[in-house]
């Protein structure tokens, strides 16, 4: 590939790529993101290639292995363009039918289509499925049509036109002002205005400045940045290069966690391709601007997502936050001004430059502009990645896009903002998502984790779980975080085990104050959030655990007992057969009894008891009723005339 030297050459190349593509030619796009990869998209890809060859269709159909489409619940996903026919949960054995029916005969394979759970209608087109229809995918949308390993795919969609515009039609100051005007706030957690951060670095003294991509996404259940970097790495590179130009930086780093091998592979390939095309390196597009990017793999520490810890790790030292009260955009990596933004923030930059700040600010609320990608997980029907305009109510995300709670269960809370975020209850479902809105409600935007919880979730146990995660991930440098969390975790664990004491809640509140006010970094300062937000909205659950030794959600093992309701037991013997600890006494026509001394509370009996009986129940806070005396256990069944009756 000859190097592109001018914006005109870039446009020529783009025209050339597009002219060689026949928009009518069928193209099978196969989601090859991490989630679909895990559910078997690699095997599906092999089957597709083989079948196309077998049916002699080699040159008449294209296959494009794209990044994550977002609807991970239903992967692997295939979308056949230009008709946009969308098939879900594809197995290799479905492939011959897809090729012979849809590609050859232009017929739809009904059984692989999405069925609307409410109307029971089959939906053919991707964009008409409620999960996609109700989103606004300005950043994530390109993922479905780009092969991350092909720079041509990105160029065909207008890729690098923003960089070209910035370098040749705008001054660095102009780029900065546009991003400032767009009020692009950091998507990584803090929500700090990116333009202000860039300006600080731009105005800081010194010739050497750095721009850094934070791809150390570590929140449990969150994979927005992973999917963007894996699926559309050029968008991140383009944004980073534009940022570098605005700041006056000539060297960039991508700090990506070790656990994201596909992201590392794809971004490295993207850098290589961009260098070959002259879109990175010396004198980019003849503008005189030089910029290089290096990839650094993180060694697996959550705290390295914190800006100063990340820079310390990048310098080759143990990833601990710096105690200094100096912003890293002034004194950062190797003591130089350094702009750090996360993957999603950088990916927004080309859109702002191409479409203008006025276009960008049409989306969102007063304080939060643009869109946000959330990873919607937990007790939710449609697990996946969703992008919505800021200001969208939580209810729309969870119910219209997410399809609500599965299994007929009731919604209880949604945890936003990652481990240091908070849990919001049902009465806040109409809260519009935005940085300030979520913070005011006691949670936070964080990087966009959204974990939905149903009525079976114990909120005290949720707080304990997140505290355990944070305790494990604390760097251990400062006392309020290391020692404070050690004690908070102990107390919370005791409460969930029925060993809570009067005064525990007050002590947890005091430990929280110490962490918030005195911890060294953001991880420590926000570490009490899981406790504080659950206490704020679910104090009754804490009090029930401490005072009545009762878990209202019937979830904490030490506080519940399994009990067979003698009036409902039909002696079907299923539970007794499945009990792994042989704790259930029973037999033919005998009411079954759980031996509480032998019961390990694994819950198997509860799960296997047929729904028509529902005899096994969970009880908490009250003593287990004494077993029915042996002589009264025989079930007397009413004789039905004309039926042989049950044995």
């Amino acid at each position: 590939m000859p190097r592109i030297n001018t914006p005109a050459e870039l446009e020529e190349l783009r025209k050339d790529i597009i002219s060689k593509r026949d928009p009518k030619k069928p193209c099978i796009t196969l989601c090859s993101g991490s989630a679909c990869h895990a559910s078997g998209s690699k095997e599906v890809a092999a089957a597709l290639e083989e079948e196309i060859k077998k049916q002699g269709l080699g040159s008449t159909v294209d296959i494009r292995k794209t990044g994550c489409h977002g609807f991970c619940e239903r992967g692997p996903i295939i979308v056949i363009r230009p008709d946009e026919i969308c098939y879900f949960q594809i197995k290799p054995e479905d492939v011959p039918e897809i090729i012979s029916q849809t590609i050859k005969e232009k017929k739809v394979v009904e059984r692989l289509l999405y069925t609307d759970p409410e109307t029971k209608e089959k939906i053919i087109r991707e964009s008409e499925i409620p999960f996609y229809k109700n989103q606004g995918r300005i950043v994530f949308g390109a993922n479905i049509s780009v092969d991350p390993k092909s720079i041509d795919d990105y160029l065909a969609l207008g890729g690098y036109s923003a960089l070209s515009k910035a370098l040749t039609q705008m001054t660095a100051e102009g780029v900065l002002q546009e991003v400032k005007k767009a009020n692009l706030r950091g998507r990584g957690g803090g929500g700090f205005p990116a333009g202000t951060k860039w300006e600080g670095s731009r105005n800081a003294p010194g010739d050497i400045k750095y721009v850094i991509v934070n791809a150390d996404e570590g929140d449990p259940g969150a994979y927005m940045d992973r999917s963007l970097l894996e699926g559309n790495p050029h968008a991140v590179l383009e944004g980073l290069t534009i940022g570098a130009y605005a700041v006056g930086s000539h060297e960039g780093y991508i700090y990506v966690r070790q656990e994201y091998p596909l992201a590392v592979e794809n971004v490295n390939m993207a850098i290589k391709k961009a260098e070959e095309h002259g879109l990175l390196g010396k004198n980019i597009l003849g503008s005189g601007f030089d910029f290089v990017v290096k990839v650094h793999r993180g060694a697996g520490a959550f705290v390295c997502g914190e800006s100063t810890a990340l820079m310390t790790a990048l310098e080759g030292r143990a990833g601990e936050p710096r105690p200094k009260y100096i912003r890293s955009n002034i004194v950062g990596l190797w003591g130089r001004p350094s702009v750090l933004n996360n993957v999603e923030t950088w990916a927004n930059v080309p859109l702002i430059i191409n479409n203008g700040a006025d276009w960008f600010t049409r989306y969102g609320t007063d304080g939060s502009k643009g869109t946000k990608i959330f990873s919607l997980v937990g007790k939710i029907t449609n697990t996946g990645l969703v992008e919505v305009p800021m200001g969208t109510p939580l209810r729309d995300i969870i119910f219209n896009i997410g399809g609500g709670i599965p299994g007929g269960k009731k919604f209880k809370a949604v945890q936003t903002g990652g481990p240091s975020g908070g849990c919001l209850p049902e009465h806040l479902l109409d809260l519009p998502v935005g940085f300030d809105e979520l913070t005011r409600a006691g949670s936070m935007m964080g990087s966009g984790g959204m974990i939905v919880m149903d009525e079976d979730t114990c909120m005290v146990d949720v707080a304990r779980y997140f505290l355990e995660f944070l305790t494990d991930e604390s760097c251990g440098k400062c006392v309020p975080c290391r020692e404070g969390m050690r004690q908070m975790l102990k107390i919370l664990t005791n409460i969930t085990k029925g060993k809570g004491k009067e005064g525990d809640i007050g002590l947890l509140e005091q430990l929280s104050e110490t962490a918030i006010e005195a911890a060294l970094c953001a991880l420590g300062k926000s570490s009490p959030n899981p406790f504080l937000s659950t206490l704020k909205y679910f104090r009754d659950e804490y009090e029930a655990h401490v005072r009545e030794k009762r878990c209202p959600a019937l979830s904490c093992k030490e506080l519940i007992a399994f009990y067979i309701d003698p009036a409902k037991c039909n002696a079907c013997t299923t539970c007794a057969k499945k009990c792994p600890s042989e704790a259930i006494m029973g037999g033919k026509n005998l009411i079954h009894i759980i031996d509480q001394a032998k019961c390990t509370k694994c819950g198997t009996c509860f799960e296997v008891c047929p729904p028509k009986f529902r005899a096994v129940t969970k009880i908490s806070g009250v003593p287990v009723p004494p077993p029915v005396p042996e002589e009264a256990r025989t079930i007397v069944r009413p004789q039905k005339t004309g039926s042989p009756g049950k044995e």
Binding site: Y325, T471, G476
Partner: protein
């Protein structure tokens, strides 16, 4: 060098450019408690005991004085109900590990800290990092370092370096605020029982 004038506990304080609040306070005879600070070492900002209140342009926040630079016209308060409450908690958290350490006795009295507030886990080390940093910054030997992270974090001598450097130095021992002998113990353990040999012996 220009002089910075600010207010601390109602007194007018003068500090040189680049001085921290703690240094300025000490120079003016105002006492602020510390556990991880040492005049020969870079500020570490780990124990957080030296926390103070800074009022600047109408807003007030808590900062640690060993790191926060002196600024002109700020108002600093080294004691307040909130500061005392946080210091008390920090002391109580630390005393779970070294309840009898001399360094805590007067401070506990001053702030009303209860050595029995938290369940005791006497590990003696309070992670002040004085030994680690002294060895790295002053002696430039790096014979002792931190290993692991979070609540599993420990100090440990590196046997290959310690065997050569430590017997004739031992300057870190008296720096230990909780128990000088503790450092000696950790050193002997590292040299006599290289990594893993103790566990292997106890399992065998």
């Amino acid at each position: 060098m220009s002089e910075i004038v600010f207010n601390m506990d109602g007194k007018e304080i003068k500090a040189a450019e680049g001085m921290t609040l703690l240094e300025a306070a000490r120079a003016a005879g105002i006492s602020i408690p510390t556990l991880c600070w040492h005049e020969k070492l870079e500020p570490f900002g780990a124990c957080r005991l030296c926390i103070v209140e800074v009022e600047s342009r109408g807003s007030t926040r808590l900062v640690v004085s060993c790191v926060y630079p002196a600024e002109k016209n700020i108002i600093v308060r080294t004691r307040s109900e909130k500061i005392d409450r946080i210091r008390k908690m920090i002391l109580e958290l630390q005393m779970a590990h070294a309840p009898d350490a001399f360094v805590f006795q007067d401070l506990a009295k001053e702030y009303g800290a209860d050595r029995n507030r938290f369940e005791k886990e006497p590990s003696f080390c309070i992670h002040c990092g004085l030994c680690v940093r002294y060895c790295a910054e002053v002696k430039k030997k790096n014979a002792i370092g931190f290993v692991d992270r979070g609540i599993r974090k420990e100090i440990s001598f590196i046997p290959e370096i310690a065997a050569k450097e430590c017997w004739n130095c031992k300057e870190c021992f008296p720096l230990c605020p909780t128990e000088a002998l503790q450092a000696a113990y950790v050193l002997v353990e590292a040299l006599a029982f290289p990594a893993g040999s103790l566990e292997a012996a106890s399992e065998g």
